[in-house]
Structures are given as structure tokens and as C-alpha cells.
Amino acid sequence: MACLFLCGPAILFGALKAGIAVPVELTAEPAKYLIGGVSQSAILPNLNIDGFANKKLQAAIEDSVGNYVPSKANALLTNAALQRAIITFSDLPQSFRCYPTYFDSSVIYDPTCNALAQKPLQDTKEVQNGIREFAVGFADLVQKFPDRKFVIIVADISNTSLSNPALCLSDDTYTTVMLNAMLKKVCAGFENVSVIDCSYDNPRDYYQYFYRTDHHWNGWGALDAYERSIDSLESNYAERLRGALNDTVSLKGLEWLSEHGYSCRDGLMLINEPVNEPEFSLSEITLEEGSPPLMLLDDGVARMKEAGPIASYDFYQTWYGQWQDTVAVNDGAALPGSSALVVCDSFGTAFKWIASTGFGRVETLYDLHGNRTEATPLAETLLGSDCEIVFLVACAADYQKVLDRFPGYLD
């Protein structure tokens, strides 16, 4: 029996290669939705002496064997569940409000809210220096462009949010509120800058605007940030943008879909979260490049159904679009000639569609995203752009790290 068990991947490999119909639950296919579940394996390109000497061939073969482990997703989830059971049992004497989803996991589970969050960000010197450098660089930049309006939004991601249940259990943490306070202090006196405070200090408010199973805000969170941005602008400007927005918001029936979200994939703990997203009537919107996200399509809901499990595991990106594209959005219904620039990380993915209700053209740059490998200095971009408003939208960690990745970005 044990020998047969050890031959499982070989049997599965043989069955799949022989064309035998194996139920998908018995394959490693569902594991590709979990972080680390399925790896890209490149055996053939490394099938040579060099590949063997530098161990790339070995790594590729190991990945390949891992990709044929039967019922791999169940193995991953069950193993994490067993570890969670041990942690829960260990927690009985203390009854902490939250605990890791498995040993050494960066994701924590809050049973009272049935939500997943990231561990709080530590207030280290590295974080402080990164944030300070960004804030000072930003203050220098806005002075060079007195005719442009800058709106900076710190997305209240769970690891810096006051609503994080682990915050009160940890020392020396860095919060969204601290970053907002620093930005306000550094930018005090500059009339062309608005620092938007959209942080939430309790889970009840927080989970109206943020997913329980993903680190992003939902459409309502992006909308809330945008509305607060509007409120910070001069009255005539704000009136125009609010007027454009009011006509458009309604609810769409995506209730059939339950989301698992990135935190579930990363924390190996599946929680069903009913989708609750606003709908924006954005029929006039066109993209200058790239393909439109599902939320813009008339048959978007139907296509979500067709997208299969990924629609559930990665709802935010499937619905609002990929962050990788630098897109320019044109809204024929909005004021012609007006334009905005959104400089952001993945939080801008939902935000840009809402911002596009008020502008003829919205250009989006994902320079603040941690995976971005190159970026043009922002001042250079602004010199070549006729935008009236620049929205900066990102979480604290991405503001902190942007000058590490692109040292001259704010010069």
C-alpha cells in the first residue's frame, strides 16, 4: 500500500500521458490557484550538461514531479488545516483574537470577522527611512509643478490598517494613519496637494470597503477613496466630478459568485466571501490599448462564470483588470479635454475606472507596484502630460519601496 502511494505521481503521469480521463480533483490542476501549488517546469531547455551542473535541470525535474502529485490542492489545504487546528488548540489558554493560518504563515485569520489579513507591518528603520525619503521627494516634486493638483491616497491595506486584529497584539507597527500624518506634515502649506485619509479603525467599517479574503479594496473602497478625493478639491471642480459620478452608481447582480481572494490562496485557507461590488455605467469608455476588463463588458457577468475557478480565486483582477497594462481610458461622456494621471500600485486597478467618470482621459501608470522593473521619472512624465490632476494611489509598503527600486523616480 505504501509503495503504491509513493508511485502516485508516476501513475498519474502515465494515466494523463495515455489519455485516460482522470477526474480533475485527482490531478494537481486545482492547486494552480494556490500560491506555490504548481510551478512552471522547463526540463527540455535545461536538458544538457550545463543545466545539470548549475542544478537548473534538477530544479525543473523536481517541479515537474511536484506538478503530478495527485490531489495536490487537497494535500496543501489539508496540511494547512491540520496545522491551523494545532494552532487553534494552542490558542485556547490565551484566546488571542487572531492567529496564523498555518505555522509561519504571513496571513492571519480573524474568527470573529471570518476574515483573513496580513500580519502587521513592522515599524523598522528601513520602513521609516523609505517612507521619509518618499515623503520628502514627493514634497519637492509637487513644488516643481504648482499648476498641477496632486491627490495622494494611502490605501488602508490590512497590514497597516488600524482595523487589523493583530495590531493591538503587536509592538512597533507601522500604520496607514502614521503615513498619512507624515505626508500631511511634509506637504503642509502646499495648496496643490491633498492627502486623503481613507483609513478605517474598526473591522465593521473596514470590511465594507475591503475584501475579507483579499488584500485589495473592493469597488466600494475605491469609490470611497475617490469621493473623499473629490471632497478635497475646490468646490466647482468637486461639483463637476461628483455630478458625473452620481449618475453612474448602481448595483450589479454578482451575488452568485463567492470569492476566495489572494489571502486565501496565500494563507491556504478557503473562505467563501459573497461578492458585493458597485456597477458603474461606463459604456462610453474606450481603452487606447489592451483589452477591457470584464466589468466593462455587457456580458461580463456571464464571462465571469465561464472563467472558472480563477474568477473566484482572483476576483479583483479578473473583474477590474490586470495591473500590468499601462492604460489610457477615454470617457466620451465626461468633460472633453479634461485629463488625469493615476500613478499607482494594484489598488489603482479599480480606482482608475471610477476616476474615469470625471475625465475625458485617464492615464494609468503602475510605477508604484512592487513587481514593476522600470519606470520613467515622474517629473519627466508630467512634463509630457497635460493632466490637471495627479492621483497617487498605493499602499504604505509600495510608497516605502518605490525609491529603493527607482532611486531617481521623484527627482
Partner: protein, 507 residues
């Protein structure tokens, strides 16, 4: 490649067993075992595999020369050359950086270049095995092996290649040509492999996540709780990691028909440092006893010489574990303790209740692992201070942040895993089934007991009744089911875990 990896469990092992058992001839089986062993080593060390092949060839030639030399002086000369060659290779790859660092530091200039050599995996083990072979040929305790492929099979044999046990040539000399593979032996080996895999993956890796998160930190940051739980986690990690790997190695050997020596015998149940080292890494202790301590004169010398011999052996034991002062200090720590016990402590302990001895030994190995695990000698003092409350209960962290609390429910499991309740139960069951329920059984005798006990009850006398025989059978089936569950859980963990450290790679 390590045993607790998907590539070994789901590809290498099934393929090896299929090929090995498909071929009926023992000579071919030996060559297959050599080929797979070299492939196993080359998988992780594609370049250094040539070093191992070189070591095999050199030791084969030296042993032949020793064997063919009629004169004692030439035999001794070839032995010295063989030892020098083996130790030079080990010293060069393992201690060059350490030597360069310390010489340069002492002289205040760069006198020796640090070549930044990567340590070939398992070099400390296969070098000692090769030494046992040539020394035993010199002592005429074993026959010289004329077939280089067979000698290669012995030195490179993959089950004990990277982490022991240190198998002497004399242990398997007879089995190279005469081993018998039986279904029962194969099943016993597989059971032992499951036990070892469970220890390594389910217990050692789990304890390792806590140890690795705490040990690199400053004592002031984590306070009493962090330091104490960090060392406690390491104490369990190193035992389950190493003994688990040894169990897997011995199990694999049994599956092929080899009987490797036992390497661990419940060391955490010891009542003294001396007893601890009779139970911990027994094959290493045996090597230093027979190939260093006794040739130095052992204990049949004057007291000062005895003290010197003991400290030399323990200094070598320490430095064998790693090229750092921590390890030297750790070895000398045990040497001093063993001398103290020899001259004073044992006499006191013998008059006290048994539990005092257990506490004494637990404190010794706990602080021993502290020396072993904490990076940098300068940090050791800080950690000891933290354990006496110098930095408060949790240092500058909170209890939640340290995460030690989340492992609390595993502590009874870890303790149970370190105690010999399973062999005790098995022996009791055997005695009861044989109609001798009052027979006194010793779960893990301090001396002897070189063979690894089977995982199942085996009756050596007729059962007292059919019912009792059936109960033994049911118990054995229950054990097999439990071990299958352990295998499944371990495999799930291996599949899940990118965290799969192996402490003894550094040795």
C-alpha cells in the same frame, strides 16, 4: 537530494526499488546501488561527485597497498598516507575558510586567502567511513575489497551518505556478497522509513519553523520566552531531524538487506552527560572511541593524560560538527562535563533520586544546544542572560508576535516522541501474549542494543492462547495503519512545504 523531498519520495525511491528488485543477481544489484548512489549525490553536488569518486579510488588503492605490503613499516606508511589524504580533503573543504579567517585575524593582515569553498554535502560522513575501512584493513580486522565498484558502493551508498549513521566497513562486509532480502525485512525497513519520515517532516520541520524564526534574533528583542522557546524548539528539531534521518537511512538499508548500526537510543531520557553520549549519534561516538580515543591510550593512562585524551576527543567531536568556535566550545563543554561526572558528579547523582539525574541531563543538553545553535559566541552570553530574565518576559516583542504560544499543543507530542513508550508497549505486549505478563522489560537499555528494534510485536515463544495471538496480530495491523497515516501526512507536508531544512548538511 534529501529523503524528505518530492523528488526522492515520488521518483527516485520508487524507480530505484523497481530497478533494484527487478534484477535477480546480487552483483548487478551492487552496481545498481552504486549507480543510483552516485546519481543521488550528483543531483545535489554535480561537481563534487568527482571528489567522491576520487576518494573511492584513492582509498581502494591505499587499502590494496596496505594489504599487499609485507613489512609493517610500509603498511604503516601507506596507512599514514591514506589518513593524510582523507583528512587533507576534509580539512581543505571544511576548514579552509575557518583557518584563513582566524589566521588573518590573529596576524592582522590577509596572510591566507579565504577561498569561499562550498562544503561538499556529506564529506564529513563519507570521509570517516573511508577512514574506518583503511584502518580496519591495516588492523587486519576486515578483508581488503578488491572490487572498486563494491568499495564505491560502500562509501557512496545513498541511504547513509549525507547524514550517517557512520557505517563501518566491518558492519556490512559480509552483507555485500551475502545479504538476503526478505519480504519481512523489506516491510520492517519500510516501517522504519515511515517512522523516520514522520519524525523529520511532522516534528522536526515544525519545531524548526519556530527555532529558525527565533534563533537569529537578538536576546533583548525576544526576552525569556523567545530565548527559552527558541532553544527548546531547536532541542526537539535537532533530535527529530537527525534521528528521523537515521531511521530513514536504517530503514532503507533494511529494505535492501543491509543492517546498519543504530544511531540514536532515546538520548533525552539520559541521566548524565556520559549516558547521553552513549545514546546520541552512537556511530560517531563509536568512531571517536575506536579510532581516536583508544589509540591515544584511552583511560589506561595517567590521570593528566586521560584528561588530555578526553579533551582532544571532545575538541575533535566539536570541530567535526562545524568550522566555528561555537562548535569547538560545544565539544569542550561536553568533554568537561564528562570529566566532571567521571570524577565527582556521578557519585553524587547515584545517591539522589533518579529524576534528579534526568533534570541534570536535560539542563546540560539544553544549554549545550544553546552553544550549538546561537550564531556567534558573543550572542551566547546574551541568550543565557535572557533565560535568567535579564531582558524581561518577552523582551521588546509581544507574546503574540513571538508565536511560541502557537506550538504549545505540540509540546506533549514532541516529549512523547522523545520517550521510549513504543518499545516498552511492544515488549509488554509480547510478554503478555507469551503468558509472562509480569516480565520486567527495559524500553531502551543504556548499553548494547545495537540493532534497531522492529516496529511490530514479534513473539519468540508460542502465544499463551489463540486470543492473545490474535490481539497481537490486531495490534500489528493497527501499527501498520498508523504508519500509513504517518506516511500520508508526511507526504502532504512534504508536498506543501517549501520549508524543509536539513541541519546536518552543515556537517
Amino acid at each position: 537530494m534529501v529523503f524528505s523531498s518530492t523528488i526522492f519520495l515520488f521518483a527516485f525511491l520508487p524507480l530505484f526499488l523497481a530497478v533494484y528488485f527487478a534484477l535477480p543477481w546480487r552483483a548487478v544489484k551492487n552496481v545498481v546501488l552504486l549507480a543510483f548512489s552516485l546519481a543521488f549525490y550528483a543531483w545535489g553536488e554535480p561537481v563534487y561527485v568527482w571528489l567522491m569518486i576520487g576518494s573511492i579510488c584513492a582509498n581502494w588503492v591505499f587499502a590494496l597497498l596496505i594489504d599487499r605490503s609485507g613489512r609493517d613499516i610500509s603498511r604503516k606508511l601507506f596507512l599514514v598516507l591514506a589518513l593524510a589524504a582523507n583528512l587533507a580533503v576534509l580539512g581543505f573543504y571544511k576548514y579552509q575558510g575557518f583557518l584563513a579567517y582566524n589566521v588573518n585575524r590573529a596576524l592582522g593582515e590577509e596572510f591566507l586567502a579565504d577561498l569561499q569553498l562550498a562544503l561538499p554535502i556529506g564529506i564529513s560522513f563519507f570521509t570517516l567511513q573511508a577512514i574506518t575501512y583503511v584502518v580496519d584493513v591495516y588492523r587486519r580486522q576486515v578483508q581488503v575489497q578488491r572490487n572498486p565498484l563494491y568499495l564505491g558502493m560502500y562509501i557512496a551508498m545513498f541511504p547513509q551518505l549525507v547524514a550517517g549513521p557512520i557505517v563501518r566497513y566491518s558492519d556490512i562486509e559480509h552483507e555485500i556478497d551475502n545479504r538476503r532480502v526478505t519480504l519481512e525485512g523489506f516491510a520492517q525497513g519500510l516501517r522504519l522509513f515511515c517512522v523516520g519520515l514522520g519524525k523529520k517532516v511532522l516534528l522536526a520541520n515544525t519545531a524548526g519553523t519556530l527555532a529558525d524564526s527565533l534563533l537569529p534574533r537578538e536576546a533583548a528583542e525576544i526576552g525569556f520566552v523567545g530565548c527559552f522557546s527558541g532553544v527548546a524548539a531547536y532541542t526537539f528539531q535537532i533530535y527529530f531531524d537527525f534521528s528521523g534521518y537515521s531511521d530513514m537511512a536504517i530503514g532503507l538499508g533494511k529494505m535492501m538487506g543491509f543492517d546498519y548500526p543504530r544511531n540514536f537510543n532515546y538520548p533525552y531520557t539520559s541521566r548524565s552527560a556520559t549516558e547521553f553520549w552513549r545514546r546520541w549519534h552512537m556511530s560517531l561516538g563509536g568512531f571517536f572511541r575506536d579510532y581516536v580515543y583508544i589509540p591515544l591510550g584511552g583511560n589506561r593512562v595517567s590521570t593528566p593524560r586521560f584528561v588530555l585524551n578526553t579533551m582532544v576527543v571532545w575538541g575533535l567531536t566539536g570541530i567535526w560538527h562545524g568550522a566555528a568556535w561555537n562548535f569547538v566550545l560545544w565539544g569542550l563543554y561536553w568533554g568537561i562535563l564528562i570529566l566532571l561526572e567521571k570524577f565527582f558528579v556521578t557519585r553524587v547523582l547515584d545517591r539522589l533520586p533518579r529524576f534528579v539525574g534526568h533534570i541534570w541531563c536535560a539542563v546540560l543538553f539544553f544549554f549545550g544546544w544553546l552553544l550549538f545553535a546561537v550564531t556567534g559566541l558573543e550572542n551566547v552570553g546574551e541568550w543565557v542572560a535572557a533565560m535568567f530574565g535579564a531582558y524581561g518576559f518577552t523582551g521588546t516583542s509581544t507574546l503574540w508576535e513571538l508565536q511560541s504560544w502557537s506550538y504549545i499543543s505540540l509540546v506533549p507530542v514532541m516529549i512523547a516522541g522523545s520517550l521510549p513508550w513504543a518499545p516498552w508497549l511492544r515488549k509488554k505486549l509480547e510478554a503478555w501474549a507469551e503468558g509472562d505478563g509480569h516480565r520486567k522489560v527495559t524500553a531502551a537499555p543504556e548499553k548494547g542494543n545495537s540493532a534497531v528494534p522492529p516496529c511490530q510485536a514479534v513473539l519468540r515463544a508460542p502465544a499463551a492462547s489463540v486470543a492473545r495471538a490474535r490481539i497481537v496480530m490486531v495490534a500489528n495491523v493497527f501499527v501498520d495503519v498508523a504508519l500509513l497515516v504517518v506516511l500520508v501526512l508526511s507526504s502532504m507536508s512534504v508536498v506543501s512545504s517549501s520549508y524543509n531544512p536539513f541541519i546536518y548538511f552543515q556537517f
